[in-house]
Amino acid sequence: MIALIENEQGFPLYEAVGQIKRALSARDEAQFFFSGGGVDINAVVSRHAFEQWIADDLRRIEAAMDAVLVKATLAAADIDRVFLTGGSSLIPAIRAIFERRFGVDRLATGGELTSIAHGLALIGSEANPAEWSA
C-alpha cells in the first residue's frame, strides 16, 4: 500500500480494478492484472467472490428500493415498468435483485452511462420541473 502511494500508482490501480469489474459483468471469472511501483498482482477473481465483497452494498440497494415502494405506498405488483440505468446496473447481481422483485418482463434498460443526463434535461424543460424533486 505504501509502495503504491509513494510511487503514485493510485490511478493505474483504480483503472485495473475498473477493468476487472467490467469484465466480471460479462464473465463468471476474470484475470486481475496489476504491475507498478514494485507491486505485481496477478490473480483470477470469480464473480462469486466479487458479489461477496459487495454483498453489503447489494443489501443497501435492495433496502433503498423497498423504501421507495413504501414511500410511494405501492406494491411491487403495482409497478408497470422498471428502468435500470447507471454503470452499476450492468452488474448481474444488481439486475437480479430487480428481476426477483418485478420479474424480467417489467425490466427495461439502455444507455447506461447517458440516460440520466437525458432524463434530467427532459425534466428541466418541463413546465414544472419542481414536481420531480424528491
Partner: protein, 87 residues
Amino acid sequence: MTESAPTALGLDFGTTNTVVALSGGGDGSRLISFEGDDATGEIFRSALCFWEDADVRFGVASEAGPWAIAEYLQSPLDSRFVQSIQH
C-alpha cells in the same frame, strides 16, 4: 434552423463519469460531446488535475476530465489528481 435554442441542461455529475444533455429546443434531448486531443466524446471522466505553473493566475493550473488524466499521466509526481470528488 428548424429547432429553437435549448432551454434546459441536464447534468449527471457521477462518481465516475459526467454527462451533459440539452433539451427544450425540439423533440427529445441531445448529449454534448467533448472534442479535441484525448477527448472521450460524451462520457467525460469526473476527474480534476492541478499543478503549479508560475505563468497562470494564482500559480496553479488545472484541467478536467480526459485532459486531467492526460496531464496526470504525463507528470504524475508534479501534479495533484482528484477523482470520486463527491466523496
